[in-house]
Amino acid sequence: MGRWTLGATRALGDVSIWRPLVIGHMRRLGVDSIPIAIFIAIFTGIVLALLASYIFTGAMPLYMVGALVGKTVMMELGPVLTGMALAGRVGANIAAEIGTMRVTEQVDALETLGYDPRSYLVVPRVVAATLMFPVITAFAVAVGVLAGWVTSVNLLDLSSVEFLKGLRLFYHFKDLWFGLVKSASFGAAIALMGSLRGLAARGGAEGVGEATTRAVVLGCEAILVLDAFWAVVLL
């Protein structure tokens, strides 16, 4: 895997090959994933607000709901839940696509023509995922906080002023960029795992299915490992 990653890194130098392909992948892997990310964020915000109210009622002032929703969505649940969801959608998509190309010998054809399949298939996907995951996460965070705010005002005995007081009370700019940096690393990891398992697919459809499954599992594991890594390094 290390040797493979090194090869993919070397393929970054073939800018003329992968650059025209990036926008298309950004659209398919990023823009098309925004609705699912928003869907997840809405319910995450709602549940977090209700959960915080349940925990804090009688013990702490309710404006702490805003602090909990903001901190949690920005730093943890926004990037991680979005990453998990996209590990299924994007990782599976990449693994299935490249795996199919592998089992149908399209990758072999590229190699025969002198193209590096990593420059042509892996790098544009990894770059696109790395660039678009923070974008998706930004939407998810905004929608998640908004959902928590609306829930607090409509379902809980909490005013907008109190929610915003809690939201701003413990806010630091680091909360925001910490989540975005994490999500970029999640995107790169998911795209790398999908590409790795896709290129390693063998056999027919069964091999592609297995590669897809393993790509999703590895992507989720990579997210959890990276999440802990960034927490240790940046917090």
Binding site: P61, M132, F139, V141, L176
Partner: protein
């Protein structure tokens, strides 16, 4: 298709960028219109005060903490962004204090004069003010955690004292206390009985005292009569004569005493002269003894004695010769 992809991707990226930037500015309450001014305060320690914490003036939020940095000489400088419309005291000071039980801190702007009553805060503000510079003086109140820890220690002490009191007043101690009270009651009853019995005796003693007093009165009357008799005895001027003689003797004694006192005064006046005479005599005798002066030499030098004796002998022979041959020495002629 490619155009559409580029449009959608660009739109998504720009929208996300806007969300991030706008959200960050909104949440951090950034001052884009320059409606706030920046001030600095100096603390020894800021405890839990952090960037973003509110700054209040008389309880109203007027700004926030925008920077905290260590500076030389053991100070911490804190920057505040404060609403320009807020009317600050003429000489402001800042007290950093815990704002809630949940770790939130706030910087409260107060007037430096008059200084707060708390001696620790007062000392911290004065020390910070004396450091000079444009920074406002600052002081930090203890964290709520420290206060609760102190309260916890006090509560533990009270519990300990309570336990000790409880241990001291166990059931046995209470029984003993009850017995002591009963004993005190018995002693009190005995004292009452004793006092009643002694009251009769005291009454008798009082009666005796009255009788004695009457007897003394009789004695006094007898004495009066004796004095009257003595008085009648003096009617023949015997006592008066004795008294006159005594008065005369007293006058003589007084006169003798005055003479004696005068004599003593004279002696005391001559005392100094006598001392001087004695000192001179002593000095003279000392010189004589040492053989100094003519008298000393006369007293100590035997040569002079022998010379004088020889002279006297020759003088005696001369007198004898003059008596024997007067004409040899005396010639009398009238013309």
């Amino acid at each position: 298709m490619k155009r559409r992809n580029e449009f959608l991707v660009g739109l998504a990226v720009l929208a996300a960028l806007f969300l991030v930037v706008a959200g960050a500015l909104w949440l951090s309450e950034a001052d884009l219109n320059q409606k706030e001014a920046t001030y600095t305060a100096r603390f020894r320690t800021v405890e839990g005060l952090q960037v973003g914490n509110p700054v209040t003036l008389r309880g109203v939020r007027v700004g926030k903490v925008v920077g905290i940095r260590l500076v030389p000489n053991g100070w911490v400088e804190t920057e505040f962004s404060i609403d320009r419309d807020a009317r600050l005291p003429a000489k402001p000071a800042v007290i950093a204090a815990s704002a809630s039980l949940f770790g939130g801190w706030a910087a409260n702007i107060i007037s430096f004069e008059p200084l707060p009553d708390d001696p620790n805060v007062r000392a911290a503000l004065v020390e910070s003010d004396q450091a000079g510079g444009a920074a406002w003086p600052g002081a930090t109140l203890p964290d709520i955690g420290q206060l609760t820890a102190q309260a916890s220690r006090i509560a533990s002490d009270i519990a300990s004292v309570t336990q000790r009191v409880q241990g001291a007043f166990d059931s046995a101690a209470l029984r003993q206390l009850r017995q002591s009270v009963l004993d005190m009651a018995a002693i009190s009853n005995r004292l009452v009985t004793f006092a009643n019995s002694q009251t009769g005796r005291l009454d008798r003693v009082s009666g005796n005292l009255v009788t004695t007093s009457d007897a003394f009165a009789g004695v006094t009357r007898s004495l009066d009569r004796a004095v009257a008799r003595v008085d009648s005895a003096t009617s023949q001027n015997q006592l008066r004569e004795i008294m006159n003689n005594g008065r005369d003797a007293s006058g003589d004694i007084r006169q003798a005493s005055a003479d004696f006192r005068q004599l003593m005064a004279t002696m005391r006046a001559n005392d100094a002269s006598l001392v001087r005479v004695l000192q001179s005599a002593d000095s003279l005798l000392t010189r004589l003894q040492a053989g100094n002066g003519t008298l000393g030499k006369l007293a100590t030098d035997s040569t002079l004695y022998y010379e004088t004796a020889a002279t006297m002998r020759q003088f005696r022979e001369l007198l004898a010769d003059i008596q024997a041959h007067p004409k040899k020495y005396i010639k009398v002629s009238v013309f």
